[in-house]
Subunit: 265 residues, 6 copies
């Protein structure tokens, strides 16, 4: 089975290789992991705007990966940005996101989970993501660690300590019985395992959750339902032959008018 | 009061002017309407992928319009694509969407509304949008007219006839007591008014609903809550000085590694 | 446009004029405000019983105002008492309530609002009112200031201080990102504007919210759906010719029996 | 135990006595039934406006009955109009409504119930009443018989036949497994018992359900929670000594101003 | 009317007689109470496993009691273990549970109730039970006293004191306006009555609530809907003649294979 | 990895071996499947009573399998009977059910799923099971094939044809975009794969779904949360040393009284 992990923005060769080898190590016998990072994208994702910034690169990657015959692809961000779009675009390749994968794993293992997200700015949209998964009744709280994504890995011990402290609050105050890490940098820091030992409840690593869900569904021959995620109608009707052609540009169409904002929009 | 209507993609000068003059006609004394169309974007929006395609142009426009001192801006698509992002980015300019504006107007006027969307491919995501507005309990159905957006205006009579027929089904089978048009091309076709006369229940024109909501809230000095829609943290912390700097590009960073997918992503 | 503000009980000429001139000041060019106060009604509304006491006067006023050709009428109490009845009785005049107007404005501006009501005795029924608006998922708390309505205006500074303190608790403990004032005496005290400056999140003034909603919908030719709010069947079937005739009285009907409670009921 | 049945409007001596003797027959040994009909009120209740019209008479009756030492009182309308108000006003006398009593009985006996209401005009408000009882998840449909209340009893056979037909539709199309009659005239027509035999699922008679709930709770020493239904604050604080004093009247207060609407409101 | 109280496991003659005489004392004139205790079952119920352990004994008892002509039977555990099964098996005898009876009584008397259960281990399943009753929106919290069931009665004063303390927390922190005792040993300790006096809100005794519900429904000729709780299909189709025959045993069927676990399962 | 499949009742050696080899074939490299069938249990499960009948055998098996060092066990019934109990009893062995596994897989792949259950008698309890999984908002319908479980395999073609026909109805009338088979006999008949080809939407085989979920979670070191599924308190407190000792029997306790029902309960 060939599974791709698609990153939102370029990363150093070392870090990409480190993440690949972790995914490879976690995968089942017979699975090959391929890393595919977009050429440009947000440095990290701490707002809805940055989520949307990632979608263009992801979409191009997903379409290419499907064409290359991959069995499944993982959106490389715990907010699953734009996942419904890739599911519309791909018919033969399964697309999964770490967010949804983790929420469903948490729902299976306990009764009330807490999501630990990176920043206060992501709390409200995290609730929306959980609701979109259909699991609003299973979440007891979303709490933020408030360490910038790009600094999470700089001091693993400090990050772990803070995660354990906030996780304990979730257990005691919100009666959480499962924790979910809501960030891929946390995932590849491999802190879930340490937290689980210290806190004695399941802690979901979103990278592992997404990988395992991809392997499971793909091995059963299951892919997203095309009745739920229809191909954009202009593609089958041949108004557009590629996803690039879904975009129109003013310079190409001499009949298009100018407007006051022509200069900068 | 200065209100901008932001379009997702370039349109002919005539059509832009036609829409502007309708908005101007509908607006309250003292309101000036400005049209701002993105230089590139989706020809029309009939899938989630096309919704996401529109966001980049919208975001640049919104930031610019806020800088120019506009009081409010209207997202020019009934699916409100990316609206939470523009609300994060803008602090002094109110941002509203035709979808949310229409759903709340419908909820105020009746007990159960039906949304008439353009295509079957948009039904599922329309329910998600209504749920995101907090109004899931007020919708009784989403029904599609299945006329491509770009053909809606070609034959106004046929479009109206089909909308009336489907609206009547919604009233009889789903007990709808208010209808919402879910497409800006329908809005500027001015069919809501005819439908309302024929069907004898309120029919919401999303362009008017958004304009009136923008005028109302702005005249009360109300804007989106920055506690709900936080500015992306990298901007106040000066890791990025503009929204363009939230994007990193491989060519600019010689230390970034290459990956297998470098060629096309 | 002619808009009426209907008060539940008589008030001093000065106070009525003060409120009228505020509403007139807040209204759009072309709007005329008329005050209509019932001859008898509850001194203030701090219980469900007092809400119901107000309905008889409101209903008579609404029917008269519609007959006089008003475009819209505002129920002059933040609990919207009896609003579904006036919507049944009126076909050509839009009827809005400050409660529903405020909740929908709050839902549009943020993700979780707190309603600040007058007394603990109104907390439970306030949740029911929000649920009736379809917005139960958008409210994070209802908190009471516990200053009797009739004393709110006596010491504006103290009232403001208390509202700010409780508003801050709502923000910190309940994660509210919008506040709604749940009392017309608060509304006409014009504290929302001061609170908004101090607390830095939107604070909804229910009088302004209702006025703006009335202007917005009426200017679009929208009124409550008669499919949702049916005229009482005895009126179209001519069993009753006026709303007064919907009431039967023992003295008029010699065939009606007496019962044990004849003396006092 | 002394239980009162409070009627919204005067009725003929014969009909009052007929209803009393049915209630007495259905009651447990030791229960005495007293009928108390308001001197004026709506002839029948087929709209929210008529529900509100009934409240004034009910409230006076309830206060008097509590003063006379009754153990419990039943609101004599299946829409439970104004019940939260009487629960606020009464501390020592239990107040129950036939609507809530029937919905809870239905929820206990099956999984999905259908409410059979009198007219299409009551369907929407019936859903609201069920939701207010906390039982929205247990109702599968509300269907109307569309026979005017005052004609229901005129032709018992026709009424029964129509109820059976609509009940069967509810079973087959909505998968109802319990039926609730939503009208006191149906209740005292004693059709529930016949319907139950013909349809082979439980059919709730709201008069019996309310009587039995009143007897049950009262015999356990249970009354409505005063923490949920607070006495209107002006009564304990002695701003008002009786419920009549909660109403102010213009003629009594020479300082109250006049307004444009003085003539009719 | 003949009502049986079915116990999950054998108890001392004295305790059974003490409970019977309390139930008899609480019952209406004309009701006869019969105690029926299973020969084996869990000593007390503090986990889901122990709930399930009780079902086999209960089911046999229920079938026998129906055969003997009882009008109604009460499941003798506040978790209502297996009640849907007995409702499937019994057609002519009403079956009620103390849990559902108490939740509906609480919902009728207030707006938000707290359930006081025995142990932390029962909190999560208690929420599920309330949700199954359709009353999830009426519960504000489940709190545990954490006194083992078998010790509750040993020191009545200490138990009462703890219940009052936790009840007060529920009132103050969770805004509960009704309390429900979630254990039959608490019920027969008759502490609800003392708590109600001290805390001044209704406190539901689950034994009384179940008894009164059984009397009420049975006196109206109401039983569980067989459309909701179908008889196991093998009984009417005569694949099985008794509930015992629904169980197959390996020793009886020589054609059944052996498996690795034959030794202990 | 060692995974056990636990059957509710004895089956023929051939059928057990056939099922084992299918599970082994579907499993990942490195997984060993062990079949463990209870010595007595229900022949098939078509009612809640039969679900409960299966629990005793399952529980004994689960405890034994944990003791033997299995990594995970699958409850061999699509209704997941008693699963919360086994999760309480087992600390080191993961326990999963085919029902929950399938519902979560369906929720991940589409937006609205239909469950195809065996008999009308299971429809209502199936909705409850889905609600317990937290996925009530993702199910659009439960439909029954009404072929007795024991006859499903007798005529595979007829069964498949009926499933396809009912599946098509679910797609057309209920807008299902994923189907779930709700019976293990259907699962091992391998019809999901054929249905998926014919109906062109994902069809979940519950046996595969449970196996893959077990492999996934176990390979991540994840097990049910003991904070959510507490060990029955009598075990850690040593009031009972084995699950058998949680049961008390009259014959063992000479101090236990007799009751009227001693003869048969």
């Amino acid at each position: 089975m060939k599974i791709a992990y698609v990153g939102a923005a370029p990363k150093s060769t070392e870090e990409v290789e480190r993440r690949r080898s972790l995914l490879q190590e976690w995968s089942a016998p017979g699975t090959t992991i391929q890393m595919a990072y977009a050429k440009d994208g947000p440095a990290s994702i701490e707002s809805m705007y940055e989520e949307y910034l990632a979608i263009s690169g992801y979409a191009k990657g997903m379409v290419r990966l499907e064409y290359e015959g991959f069995d499944a692809a993982i959106v490389g961000c715990a907010g699953d940005p734009g996942i419904d779009a890739y599911r519309e675009l791909c018919t033969n390749m399964l697309v999964v996101g770490p967010g949804m994968s983790s929420f469903h794993a948490a729902a299976v293992l306990g009764r009330k989970f807490t999501l630990l997200t990176v920043a206060d700015s992501m709390i409200a949209s995290s609730y929306e993501l959980i609701q979109k998964s259909g699991l609003a009744s299973m979440v007891t709280s979303v709490r933020a660690v408030n360490i910038p994504v790009l600094e999470l890995a700089a001091n693993r011990e400090e990050t772990l300590e803070k995660l354990v402290r906030i996780g304990r609050e979730a257990i005691e105050k919100d009666r959480a019985d499962v924790l979910v890490l809501g960030c891929m940098s946390m995932a590849f820091l491999q802190v879930a395992e340490d937290m689980q030992k210290l806190l004695e409840i399941p802690v979901i690593n979103p990278a592992k959750a997404a990988l395992k869900l991809a392997e499971s569904l793909a091995s059963c021959g299951l892919k997203q339902s095309k009745a739920a995620f229809t191909v954009p109608p202009k593609l089958p009707s041949e108004q557009a032959n590629t996803i690039e052609e879904l975009l129109i540009k003013r310079e190409n169409k001499s009949t298009l008018g100018e407007s006051y904002y022509d200069n900068y929009l």
